[in-house]
């Protein structure tokens, strides 16, 4: 089971308390009527789905109920960091090495 740190509760808790909420930092177009079908497709459907550090959203459903962001290595499932919604996306270089 994954152990996840909620940046609001400041506690590391079992996965069962959390709900995964997909890739993070995908910005909804300000005015959907203005974007092309291709841009709308990218927003709705296209995902990085990468092997390695993945920026993603989680929600502490059985705790504070809030959404936050995390960086997790999708090969090892290890969390590199979690941070509050609205905070800047951490630089890949600033993250700890996986395996620590």
């Amino acid at each position: 089971m994954l152990l996840i740190h909620c940046p609001y509760c400041d506690e590391t808790l079992p996965e069962a308390e959390f709900a995964y909420a997909g890739e993070a930092h995908i910005v909804r177009p300000d005015n959907p009527a203005d974007v092309s079908d291709e841009e709308w497709r990218d927003f709705l459907f296209i995902r990085n789905n990468l092997k390695g550090p993945h920026y993603e959203r989680w929600r502490h459903i059985h705790g504070c109920g809030r959404f936050f962001n995390a960086v997790r290595n999708t090969v090892t499932d290890r969390f590199l960091t979690t941070y509050r919604a609205g905070e800047r996306r951490p630089d890949p270089e600033s993250l700890p090495e996986d395996g620590q």
Binding site: M1, Y20, D37, L44, I46, N49, L50, T74, V75
Partner: protein, 417 residues
């Protein structure tokens, strides 16, 4: 290629089974091929087989990063059915089912296709309405599917608990009698053998690290640790790893890769006559010919390539199985594992051309592509050979995510399938 028959089995048995020949060689890559297929799962091997057999294209290599059949083909719970809601899906999966029925003869290789019936349990009023809608839609499409009362369901599958006090009360079931299971490894092996006999090279332990295209945007070949291999056409059929491979060709896909787990019990005498699926509680069960109960669950909630998955999910699935079949309460489980499944937003596959000339993709089969193996392979071979969609795979384009013409089995089933 040895022809398998009762007589040849007997002759080899008398000789102590010492003289069986290799069924396919482990090929070294040539410098160039007409067609390269990335991924030696059932779909990729099958496509190579049909390219050679039906289209006369034999200068083909299937390139596999591990061993053939070691992906989801060798990890799945082998449920085969075709009672999908939408016309497009019904045609594709029923085409596959037609091919399944003759596959052992076609390949001269026993894929142990067993039409023992797949029963889907309804536990709520919503389930009842949704499954009955499926039954009606299926009948209009000439797809076998029927509605059973809970007593009829119990008669078809005696271990089922249909009592009023059950944790997950059974309100009825949809039964596709034509559906069933097959031996997953044998499907990969049978296609590999048939393809190799027609001249296809099967190259194992050779990951494709990138797809290269030329200045005009047409595909040129693939990079591997054993060097660059040129190809006129490349078809990617890499299941959970498709995003990574296609990224190198500049094609971004609407896919997310999740772990999907399964487990088997200790082997016991025949007790379970069919396949039972409960979508509402995410549990699937059948009994293999070896006697193990084969149990599948839903995907883990997070995307991952770890090929492991978490225990909470297994606990949930096993708890559900014990509630629906109290008789299995004290069975011991032997092994559990996971595969990485490639899930699309509408839970339907993507099968066809890509923006790169000469590059084709077959992916998005997610939690349910084993059943499609012969149909996907057969129509993919057509598309690669003729550079155009097959009437059956034509709706399953990548463009549908731009046009909005989705094949929304996700909404139809509301669960993994």
């Amino acid at each position: 290629m040895t022809h398998f028959s009762a007589l040849s089995l007997l002759r080899h048995a008398l000789g102590g089974n010492k003289k069986w020949e290799e069924q396919w060689p482990n090929s070294e890559p040539k410098a160039e091929y007409d067609v390269i297929i990335v991924g030696a799962g059932g779909h990729g091997l099958g496509a190579a087989y049909y390219l050679a057999k039906e289209h006369g294209i034999t200068d083909v290599a299937v390139i596999e990063k591990g061993w053939l059949g070691g992906g989801n083909t060798g990890r799945n719970t082998t449920i085969i059915r075709s009672n999908y809601l939408y016309d497009e899906s019904a045609r594709l999966y029923d085409h596959a089912l037609d091919l399944w029925e003759g596959l052992s003869q076609e390949l001269n290789y026993n894929v142990m296709f067993s039409q023992r019936g797949v029963m889907m349990l309804a536990h709520s009023v919503h389930d009842v309405q949704s499954f009955q809608r499926h039954v009606h839609a299926n009948r209009l499409n000439d797809v076998d599917n029927r509605w059973l009362t809970k007593e009829e369901a119990k008669a078809y599958c005696p271990p089922l608990d249909i009592s009023q006090t059950a944790r997950y009360p059974v309100m009825g079931a949809a039964l596709q009698k034509r559906a069933g299971t097959a031996r997953h490894d044998a499907v990969a092996w049978g296609y590999a053998r048939g393809a190799a006999a027609r001249g296809v090279d099967i190259i194992q332990n050779c990951p494709v690290t990138a797809i290269r295209s030329d200045a005009t945007g047409a595909v040129e070949g693939v990079e591997t640790p054993r060097g660059f291999i040129k190809a006129k056409k490349v078809a990617v059929s890499a299941a959970g790893h498709t995003s990574v491979v296609m990224d190198s060709a500049g094609v971004r896909l609407p896919l997310e890769s999740y772990p999907l787990q399964a487990l088997v019990s200790e082997p016991v005498k025949p007790i379970f006559p069919c396949v039972v699926m409960s979508n509402t509680v995410h549990a699937y069960i059948s009994q293999s010919d070896k006697g193990e109960l084969v149990i599948g669950s839903g995907t883990d909630q997070y995307t991952s390539y770890s090929q492991r998955g978490g225990l909470p999910l297994i606990e949930h699935t096993v708890a559900a199985i014990c509630e629906i079949f109290p008789i299995f309460n004290r069975m011991r489980m032997l092994r559990k594992w996971a595969g990485i499944v490639d899930v699309t937003p509408d839970r339907s596959a993507i099968l066809g051309k890509t923006p790169v000339q000469g590059l084709y993709v077959n992916c998005g089969w997610g939690t349910g592509g084993f059943k499609a193996t012969p149909g996907a392979a057969h129509t993919l071979a057509w598309t690669v050979a003729k550079d155009e969609p097959h009437p059956i795979n034509a709706p399953f384009t990548l463009e549908r995510f731009t046009t909005g013409r989705l094949i929304d089995e996700a909404a139809a089933a509301a669960v993994a399938h």
